[in-house]
Subunit: 479 residues, 2 copies
């Protein structure tokens, strides 16, 4: 887990924030938010909010009272305590791409499989910049739809010892994840004391929360497992085409979801979520790494801090079909603002290609490289007598070089970050090495990582109990 002690880059004036603040208040008061769940509607009604059919018209002050019950920061335990993370404040935790049905490996693009899923889980374990494999690193299309959440959760729990994301396809799936978490961590009390999973509940933007994801929210919140309440906004489609409107809508949606989580279980850890980009208004295609999404990201951080909430946004997003130059700069076009804003929980950090339809093995390596560079860049300078190096100047003099100076000798091993993917070979050496471009080098790296991968140890009784649970539930689900 990275601690970002650099300043936050904030671009909203106090006046701008006040205008956005008035905006979400007007939306929840006058347009209201739809909740496609009777349980949710009942909770809001009992709490004194006006409910008409599925629409809840919210009193902004009531919303803020609920939001204030959420912790500003919280711990999330991994089964390996060294991999536990803290969500909020200056911390940033990173998970792999989430959701792609397809996989790219070199020049091949194909349906994702359980074997791919497992390999991505192994790579997430292997790369230290990642705090989590996330959840659905790719869809394991060769496993039955009803029970694949069991296979994925088992893989996350056994192939990695990092924190993991819970399945949110239904309340039933959420109960399975919680049950397996209880097995892994020693019971309900243990996971309620310090949560062990984090789950993504998306809003069906604009202003609608759907039933299945809300069912999952009910389960996780009741078990005090953190939930990332995320407006899913491609501006122009799920929100108006203007960034301020998208931000206001995002506030209305995220805050209303967080209010519900607090009604389910006051004090339940939550994360202010944001997934904000825009479509190409000529083709209708989603686009990523755009200027508009960068601005939205910076504002989102400021807004989440305004409400005292940890927040999720960012990732190595790109529209590119392959891990080429566009993939490189678009990923960084989101990842740099992710650091500038100090996002606390970063999904889609590694592997995202083709607008999120593809999990790419080479892109996974590219993104890990970018994030590792940024982690070094967002580390404050230490200025002291030693780093000012006056003595080195005395030693070297005018027009000399510092390669062999005492000051350099004492520091040369650790003074600069050394990338694992980038090439700075001179041309002749690069040609002798096969003239491999970044994607080709990334291909070598992930294959080597898989070869060298060592599965983290797990108590055999616990593993067996997890397996037993998966086998039994799969049978019950008819798969």
């Amino acid at each position: 887990m990275f601690v970002n002690r650099m300043p936050r880059y904030e671009i909203l004036s106090a006046d701008a924030m006040a205008q956005l603040d008035a905006g979400w208040r007007r939306l929840v008061t006058e347009i209201g938010v739809e909740f496609m769940s009777d349980r949710a509607l009942d909770l809001f009604r009992e709490a004194g909010q006006r409910v008409e059919e599925n629409t809840v018209f919210l009193d902004p002050e009531f919303v803020l009272e609920q939001v204030a019950k959420a912790p500003r920061e919280f711990d999330l335990q991994a089964r390996n305590p060294e991999h536990s993370v803290h969500i909020g404040g200056d911390t940033m935790a990173f998970g792999a791409v989430y959701g792609p049905p397809f996989v790219r490996e070199g020049d091949t693009r194909r349906d994702g499989t359980m074997a791919d899923y497992e390999n991505f889980a192994r790579l997430s374990q292997s790369f230290s910049v990642l705090d989590s494999a996330g959840g659905v690193v790719c869809e394991p299309n060769d496993t039955p739809l009803d029970s694949r959440h069991l296979d994925m959760t088992y893989a996350l729990m056994t192939l990695t010892d990092k924190v993991f994301m819970g399945n949110v396809v239904s309340g039933t799936n959420a109960r399975d994840v919680i049950a397996m978490s209880e097995i892994l961590f020693g019971g309900r009390e243990a996971i309620e004391r310090t949560p062990v999973s984090i789950s993504l509940v998306n809003c069906n933007s604009p202003l609608r929360w759907d039933d299945r994801m809300l069912d999952a929210l009910f389960e996780y919140a009741a078990a005090a497992q953190p939930v990332v309440l995320t407006p899913f906004i491609l501006m122009g489609a799920m929100s108006p085409v203007t960034i301020p409107a998208a931000l206001v809508q995002q506030m209305a949606e995220a805050l209303s979801g967080i209010a519900l989580a607090q009604l389910i279980r006051p004090g339940c850890p939550v994360v202010f979520g944001s997934f904000l980009s825009n479509i190409d208004m000529q083709s209708g295609s989603p686009t990523f790494g755009t200027p508009e999404s960068g601005i939205g990201l910076l504002c989102t951080g400021q807004i989440a801090r305004h409400f005292g909430l940890p927040f999720r946004t960012g990732g190595g997003l790109t529209s590119s079909q392959v891990p080429d130059a566009q993939a490189g700069y678009e990923a960084l076009m989101t990842l740099m603002p992710t650091f500038l804003a100090g996002a606390n929980w970063v999904m889609h950090t590694a592997g995202w290609l083709e607008g999120g339809l593809v999990a790419g093995f080479e892109k996974f390596v590219v993104d890990c490289q970018i994030v590792e560079m940024l982690q070094h860049e967002f580390t404050p300078l230490e200025i002291d007598e030693g780093s000012l190096a006056f003595d080195a100047h005395q030693e070297v003099g005018h027009g000399g070089h510092f390669l062999g100076s005492m000051h350099t000798m004492e520091r040369f091993r650790t003074c600069f970050y050394r990338p694992f993917l980038n090439s700075s070979d001179n041309y002749e050496r690069w040609v002798r090495g096969g003239a491999l471009d970044t994607a080709a080098r990334a291909s070598v790296i992930w294959k080597k990582r898989l070869e060298e991968y060592e599965q983290p140890t797990l108590d055999e009784a616990v593993r067996a109990e997890l397996e037993e649970y998966v086998v039994r539930r799969r049978r019950e689900l008819g798969d």
Copy 2:
């Protein structure tokens, strides 16, 4: 010329700045700065500074008095007034890559030629994000060394109507550029009233200014043509391995050069220059787009503002040999901080490959794309009733989409920046289009730009006089 009205991202505390300030004062006082020019030494001696052999021991207060004579901001006129720029304050002006002996076109890497040089000049004219072709866009290796500055200057003056950089190989070359500038702009008085060229004078770091570049400085400063006084620092070689030491050295070098410029001609426009990256301590190779250079860049902006000087830094730097993913993210790893710091004069904006040894045609297009995205990203949000779009929510309701809403219809043509290089095609469409990656698409774009290029008009008498000057001087130089 872009005006960056976003906040600056500043990472140095007041205390850190005070430590750096004490650092450069100690360097110039105790170590001193070497000037390999008797004229320079005489000027410093006459101004009461202690000179021992070639080393000037500077009184920091004297340096600051000289620096205070430099304008905080100044205009630079182009022969097309629409392309004139302002250097300083919130403005950012961008020039192409400077200095590469080699050229890359697709898979071919070869010596640069005058034809390449001219094509890069045409592309610099064509891409509106660039304010200048710069100076030595690539070395025209097929022209004689002694007189190629004439050919390059003639190309810059006739193939572009944007601002240009002066040659700095010698005082003689500088005099030629000034003479040609006088022809183009109508005499010495005209170019002294508002300068027309900007020139790069590098320090031979550490702490040495060499004779030939100083000779050029004398010519340009005397003619009131702005000079960018730039410490050329690859940390670990030309400076100690620690960033604070490099920053302090950069201050001592740039400020001492600026003090000399003010002694030559008080009030002469200058730019606080920075070229700051690091070497790979294992191979000795220069590396670019590094975390260390990013931090240095952010600090440099803050330092230049501290002294009330316009500053130069940034660019689309990369170590990569080809325009691949690394080239994309390394370029942005420098260009994003360039915008965060608000650099006023940005060299190497477009075309830089392979540590600056290669000017790449495809990379040129990639960089122009990145800068255009950043220019849109660094444009402040407008928040008002219209952009908050409450009426659009009333029209669309919960769970609907905004594609056809009135608010969208009114804005869809201009609401989002539309990139010219990035692909967001879906996979099938991308395959039908030939499955071109970014480099392949960039190749199509620069060739099309050259086909469509139209040479800016120039008074025929002026052009003939320039040509005559070039022919005469080439003969005099024996080429």
